[in-house]
Chain length 181, copies 2
């Protein structure tokens, strides 16, 4: 951030009064520009014991497999965002979304919130963001070609819980060293 | 948002290529400025069956009672943010934070994440943000003077679960008509 989004003048990093950390501050109009973590919402879409995954056709990690997920937008609930991302990336409609795993990824200022969900029908297709969309049995999951550590964590957590059938909400975090596969 | 925070030139609202909603776009440098919901993190700090609340000494809702909560900052996990806010607003240190209630407040672009927690010691005090900090028995809770609907929801949910002793993670949402008390 170089300029004030309110008045267009240059901003500087300074600790505002009654604050304890540097912010982008505009000395012309007085605006303080806060920067906060972004919420990424996504799904584990399940159909008859198989999990729907998509092969990324966009960067980063083009060509690698992922679960549908993306930035929550203003104007939608977290569950609605996860449903929208699933539709956009796989063409599939999901229902019964239950919050399942929240993952802090502090060094990139993101929090992932992944929902358990079921496919309403086995209808899905490649999309602008996904070159391939496919249902995977557990033993078919392409572990060596997963796009992001958070997706691998989510899948492993889900498959472990599936043994007992108890999907309890939980939290996890990903440290910087873990991110690059 | 009026100006591009990258180059300082005016921005306009336009739907970027491969997008489906208007964003603040800079036609000078090409930057697209996304705006996403903010995560508010907070605690239900408990000491021997009593709940720690604070009386707001800042706007909005100065003079009303609340649970400690505030915007998650870059560089911290959600639990660390909730712990920090509790310390800042009440002077108290909490431990054993467990995610408890997530509340979508779509029309103000916020998601609340409230944690169950226990006070490490009954040590707390007024702070810059709170004129009064106090432990409440259930029957003492100042229901008519609660600052925000999300705080009332959190307290009612917690007190109900306390009867069974089972605090299961859950979600809720607040509609626009509910917000103003």
């Amino acid at each position: 951030m170089n300029f004030c989004s309110q008045c267009g003048r240059p901003v500087t990093l300074a600790v505002p009064a009654d604050d304890d950390r540097p912010r982008h501050v505009c000395h012309s109009c007085g605006a303080i520009h806060y920067q906060n973590p972004t919420l990424v919402v996504g799904c584990i879409p399940v159909w008859e014991n198989r999990i729907l995954m998509c092969r990324r056709d966009i960067e980063p990690r083009r060509g690698y497999w992922t679960l549908p997920a993306g930035f929550l937008e203003n104007g939608e609930t977290a569950a609605a965002g996860a449903r929208r991302e699933t539709l956009e990336e796989t063409g599939a409609t999901v229902a019964d979304l239950t919050p399942y795993l929240m993952v802090d990824i502090v060094h990139i200022h993101q929090i992932y919130l992944m929902f358990c969900s079921r496919l309403l029908a086995p209808d899905f297709h490649p999309t602008r963001e996904s070159s391939e969309v496919k249902l995977f049995e557990e033993e078919e999951i392409p572990w060596d070609d997963i796009a992001f550590k958070v997706v691998e964590k989510t899948l492993r957590c889900y498959l472990k819980d599936r043994i007992s059938g108890r999907f309890v909400f939980r939290t996890d975090k990903i440290e910087k060293r873990e991110l690059v596969k």
